[in-house]
Each structure stands twice: as structure tokens, then as C-alpha cells.
Symmetry: C2
């Protein structure tokens, strides 16, 4: 009998060379497969919903593997967590039907990207945001994002090494929200919606900063599509592109017209949505 | 002419061997003194208000140095920031009277310590909290903390290598606050007072977790005093000690009676208070 096990997991991608197994390099998939092999005494293959790049994080990654060993769901969680480093954690495990595949069964994946604009950098956020020194024109970025929502040929936002058969993808959602962070004194800085005692040390913020959050939802993405979109929207925010330029960039279907790729650390795979309630 | 310059700075202590200069090891003081020497072309000595241990953070450390070079205050900030790694940032620099000394002029120092209690660990918080698996009895810890407030001989909470002349210190404040973090679904977890979109990826929380925050204020501390107090209060929270045991531990004036030292990563030097408005 072979069982199909689905894992919900979270990781800080800072110290890994991405999701995908690579000989001799620490990766999320490789680390987890090693743990599974030690538990099941058999080679294991883990299928992940999103193959995150080096430095990209996941708050709600989903993966599945097949095993002839049957543990209780909570034993899977404890056994794997005891064998992987503290920057990875399995939140839950459950038995799913044999046809379930973390990647192919996914109905959509939600990514978030964070830009922090502030004159000074933020040491506690250095691995979790793209720090941009100059203020960005957020309404212009919001206007530009409207051209990207829907079904398009995203060739202009696709990595040259992307192996997908079709460059057409449907972006269901691309929202840009932000919060202005203001300082009350030299040593005091506060995020208005957040209780100040929880800001420290995690959210300690430079004075007069703006945190810009991009939320994207699609069934699937081309390689580097999210980061190429963010890099281009950042160029809109800087005034290098007009919002309507983004429509033209899309129409060119040529990577050379879009902006540079955004750095990985601002990106997090937030959740993966399946037909079953999960 | 020699100028006295005061710096307000912030650092993530994860990758440093503490504040104090040590030959051949990365430290905050050593890193900053090297930057100052490159700017001023002279050896520099930096006096810090608090000599934080390896892995301890600072959101509002204060330090001063003397220099015959006179730059504008904002030039000091930019010059130093351009020469130090992104886990350190200088927030401000200002000229102060010659008698100012970051450590000896300090009227008080505020430290915060964070314990996260949750069955599962939290990858994004691993360098910023002490993760404790079992729930702690917070009212008992609060009761115990009452015995420590005020002027006492803190020998029981003093590192054996502490060189202070007197073991007597005055703890002006020791407050314990907490927030229960509840989960709404497998993939959703929220801190009630915090906008959820800013939780990610930084504050992504395990389900059913409690964040316990300790705030301490004193003019000065013995070596490891804060971490020994937290380790002892944690033992009260676990039920190893009764609250009133803490009074007896204090009276024993012997380190062997208190609890184990708490790990460094939960600790942050929050602010240093001087007579002048800063």
C-alpha cells in the first residue's frame, strides 16, 4: 500500500539555495527529502506547489510525497521537524487521495512582495524586504498594475531559462497596498496599526518609511514572473516608465523591454489554494 | 580641536560576537571602529552604552567617539553606513559636550526580552525570540517579578565573570505583558492587534501561540543580569519555582540558586535615556 501525504510548511529562505534539490547545496526540497528518507528508510521524492528561488520565503508552501510507511499525521509533523533545521517547520500533515499532486492540483497560488522605501535601511528587515531609498509613486504603480491583471502573454516578464510551454498566464489579482510609517522622536518609530511592543525587535522601522505590499494571485506563473513584474512596477514608481508603458511592454512580448528583476528576499509564497478546504 | 560625537544605532546581533571588540571576530564595536578609522584616518575608540552579548540585538544603542575631523552630522551617518554591513545602521549622529560618555552619562537603559510559547517553532522569529514549547503561568511570573523590582543585591543573577564592584542594582521597572495569537484555519494565523498583511513574512505565527514580552528598566545591570532574571522567571512560569522562591533566591546572594541563563536572541537593547532630550 502506498500513501500520499500532503504537508503544509513554512520556511525562511535566507540560508537556502531555493526549493529545488541541487547536489551539494542546501535546498528546502533536498533537506526535507533527506529527513523523509531517514524516517522511511527509503528514497523520497517531494513535490512542491511552488519552486521558490534562493532567498525567497514561504509562509504557506504545500508539498506531497508517497510513502509505504504509515505514521499518524502528527507523528509525520514531529518526526520531520525533529530532523530539519529551525528555519523550516512543518505545520501539518494529512493523508490525501492518490491523485493529489501539490503542484498540478493547485487552483491558485498567492504570493506577496514587500518593498520598504526609506532613506535609511532597516537591519531587522534586510532579509524580508526590498529596500528602496527614494519614495515611489504608488498611484502610478497601481494604475500600471491594472494592465497586467487578466489573461496575457507574459513573455516580457519571463526568465530566459523558463521552460513553460506557453507564455500565457492569467493573473487573477495584483493589489498594491501600503502603510506610511511615521516617527514621533529620534528613538521612537511606530507603525500605526501595530501595537508598539510587538514591533521590537522585529518591525523596528526607520523614520518616515513606507511599506508597500504587492499581493498576486494566479493558478500558475512563469519563471521569475512575479519578480519581473515587481521590478517593472518599481520602475513605474520611480518614474522611469509611465503606467501605460506597461501595456506596451506586455505587447512587445520581449523580456528586454521590462524592468530589471526584483531581488528575492521581498517575496513570500503566502498560500496555495486547492478545491478541498485545507 | 577634538569633537565628541554621539551615535544612535540599531543592529541585528545574530551574526556578531556581541558589542565588544575581539581580535579576529566580527563584533559591533570592532566593525564600527574600523569604519571610523577609515573615515578619520586615525585609530578610533567607540564607547557603547550597553555591551550586548553575542546574538543580542539593539534597537536604540547609543555610543560616542572623539575625533579631530569635523563632518556635518548627516555626513557622519552616511559615511559610517556606507562602510558597515546591512545588519548595522546608524540612525543619527550629533555633536555633544566633551564630558558626555555613552555609558557613564546614561540615566537608564531599557531592555526587552521576548518568549514565544507555542507547540511548534516559528522560522521567521528564530533569531528574535526564545521559543518555549509549553505554556507558561504568566500571573505567577508577574507575581515573582514584583520581588525583583527595587534596589537589591543581585548576586544570584550575576555572571561569575562579572567585574562590577558592587552587586547592588536598582531595577526601576520589570513588566510582563503578553498577547495570545489565535489561528482561524490551517493556513491562517493572526495577531489580533496587527494588520494581517504586515505579518508576512515577518510575524507569521504558529497557531495558538503566546508572545510574552518582558520590559526592564535600570540605570545599570550586572553582567547577564537580564538573561538570568528571564531564565528564572521562565522556571517560575513552568512551575519549577513558586513566585515567592524568587525572593529567597535573591536573599541567597548565590548564582547557583537561580534558574539557567535565557538564550541571547530574545533580548534587545531598546533605548538609553540621558538627561538631555535625545
Amino acid at each position: 500500500m502506498t500513501y500520499n501525504v500532503r504537508l503544509l510548511l513554512e520556511y525562511d529562505g535566507t540560508n537556502f539555495h531555493g526549493w529545488q534539490r541541487q547536489a551539494g547545496l542546501p535546498t528546502i526540497q533536498g533537506t526535507l527529502e533527506e529527513a523523509l528518507a531517514r524516517i522511511t528508510k527509503q528514497p523520497a521524492t517531494l513535490f512542491g506547489a511552488g519552486r521558490t528561488d534562493a532567498g525567497v520565503h514561504a509562509a504557506g508552501q504545500v508539498a506531497n510525497f508517497r510513502s509505504s510507511l504509515k505514521l499518524t499525521e502528527s507523528s509525520w509533523v514531529k518526526a520531520i521537524n525533529s530532523l530539519v533545521p529551525p528555519d523550516i517547520v512543518i505545520r501539518s500533515a494529512e493523508y490525501v487521495p492518490p491523485e493529489f499532486h501539490a503542484r498540478y492540483s493547485a487552483k491558485s497560488k498567492v504570493y506577496q512582495y514587500t518593498i520598504l522605501t526609506s532613506e535609511q535601511r532597516a537591519p531587522f528587515l534586510r532579509n524580508y524586504v526590498w529596500h528602496v531609498r527614494q519614495p515611489l509613486n504608488i498611484p502610478a504603480m497601481q494604475e500600471a498594475s491594472g494592465y497586467l491583471i487578466g489573461t496575457h502573454d507574459f513573455s516580457s516578464f519571463r526568465a530566459s531559462e523558463c521552460v513553460a510551454k506557453s507564455p500565457v498566464r492569467t493573473l487573477d489579482r495584483l493589489e498594491i497596498t501600503y502603510t506610511q510609517l511615521t516617527a514621533t522622536a529620534g528613538q521612537e518609530s511606530a507603525m500605526p496599526q501595530i501595537r508598539r511592543d510587538f514591533l521590537i525587535p522585529l518591525n523596528r522601522m526607520p523614520c518616515n518609511a513606507t511599506m508597500i505590499l504587492f499581493t498576486l494571485k494566479a493558478r500558475s506563473y512563469l519563471q521569475h514572473m512575479v519578480r519581473n513584474i515587481i521590478g517593472t512596477l518599481n520602475d513605474v514608481g520611480r518614474g522611469r516608465f509611465k503606467p501605460s508603458d506597461v501595456r506596451e511592454i506586455l505587447e512587445k512580448k520581449d523580456r528586454r523591454y521590462a524592468g530589471p528583476i526584483a531581488p528575492p528576499q521581498g517575496l513570500v509564497l503566502l498560500s496555495v489554494i486547492y478545491d478541498d478546504v485545507f
